[in-house]
Amino acid sequence: MTARLRKTGASLPAGGREKPTLSLRRRSLASLSLALLAVATACTSYTEIPIETPIQPKLDTSAFQRIFIAGFIAGANDDVDANMETVRLLRSQLRNKGIMRVIDADTLPLMELAKQNGAEPNAPPVPDQQAVVPPQEQDKAPVINDEKDLEQYQHIFANVAYWKRIGEEYQQPLIVTGAVLFAPQQRSGFVQREQESYDPFGRRVVVPVRTYMERKGFVLRPTFIFIDGRTGETLHTETFREEILYNASQQTPALSSYFELMDRLLPAFLNTLSAQKIKGTRTLLK
């Protein structure tokens, strides 16, 4: 036995005998350091603590006591009146949060005004806010399917004289207006999904699987414009984009999709006007 060992040892290159010893030593060192690391991790005492991070509002609204959600240029969906729904939702949210006094007044006919003043973007505003719309055009809803369609109405937001006059009428509030694009969308392609299966040992395994799917849903793209009711000047503009997609066979009402998408961006909208606290958990170390 000894001879065999010696023989084997002799056949090894120079230093070959020491190799297994070194590797063993290395291995034991590695396992020792791993064990130490595990012990260190286990011994690292830590405490989880809930925190609330305050995020300062984007706009300084201290000069305003009232807020007027004036209405939005909207289109692209027959099932949802994105203008009215957005006005209602924002007003109720602002009331619930107690962010300024919300002016409860009729929304402004922005599309008609924009159309009327389209030729002269800086034309003086129409008296008593009511646009004079030709009778044959009154029932015809303008088609707004994308951002390009919206462009022809954008100039109304830059009409300082108009907004100043609206401000004077409502005791110089902060005016919120803009455009809301809520459009259906369809998309097909490969989607990665997680599929649950069990291995030969009966263990649950989650495997990512790519499958071809036809999906449909909605895209919501609101632009909120905050106007100073004292001067008619735009103070701040913010654009969001949210989308939702369902399996093509799923029937989801457009209105519920609209609310789901608005729900996602409401905190950011409210944070423009007031400080928000973001709740979370952090780890304190000893």
């Binding site: 690292t44 830590y46 405490t47 603590i49 925190i51 609330e52 991070t53 305050p54 995020i55 300062q56 984007k58 950011a268 944070n271 423009t272 973001i278 979370g280 952090r282 780890t283 304190l284 170390l285 000893k286």
Partner: protein, 124 residues
């Protein structure tokens, strides 16, 4: 004068020896005191006294500037107080001291999500 020179060099060597010999002890003492501050800070933070916690963890970081936990906790407290730039600095210091600390890294990643959102809002 002739006696003074060797005496002073002897003193110097002695002082140096004492300093070197007592360094680990002093370090251990500083770490011990810093640890006490950190633990007390955790107790007060759990009671919602975040300003007091900040004071304690700042003290701990002064006592032992190599104590990653003090900087991590300080960052959490700054975050809670909305002092986001100070929080970032403290997290970065903690990570510089312990780059492989998964708990600090996790805190920092969560912080960055919020900080990025705030930065976007500021148009930065």
């Amino acid at each position: 004068m002739t006696l003074g020179k060797p005496m002073s060099s002897r003193h110097l060597v002695l002082a140096l020896f004492l300093a070197v010999a007592s360094a680990p002890e002093a370090w251990a003492d500083a770490r011990g005191q810093a640890k006490e501050q950190v633990e007390f800070g955790i107790q007060v933070a759990q009671r919602g006294l975040w300003k007091e916690a900040i004071y304690r963890w700042e003290r701990a970081a002064q006592l032992d500037p190599t104590y990653a936990a003090a900087f991590n906790n300080l960052a959490v407290a700054y975050e809670h107080e909305g002092q986001l730039s100070k929080a970032r600095e403290a997290y970065e210091k903690a990570l510089a001291l312990e780059p492989n600390n998964a708990l600090v890294r996790q805190n920092y990643d969560l912080f960055k999500e919020i900080n990025d959102r705030a930065a976007q809002k500021d148009g930065r």
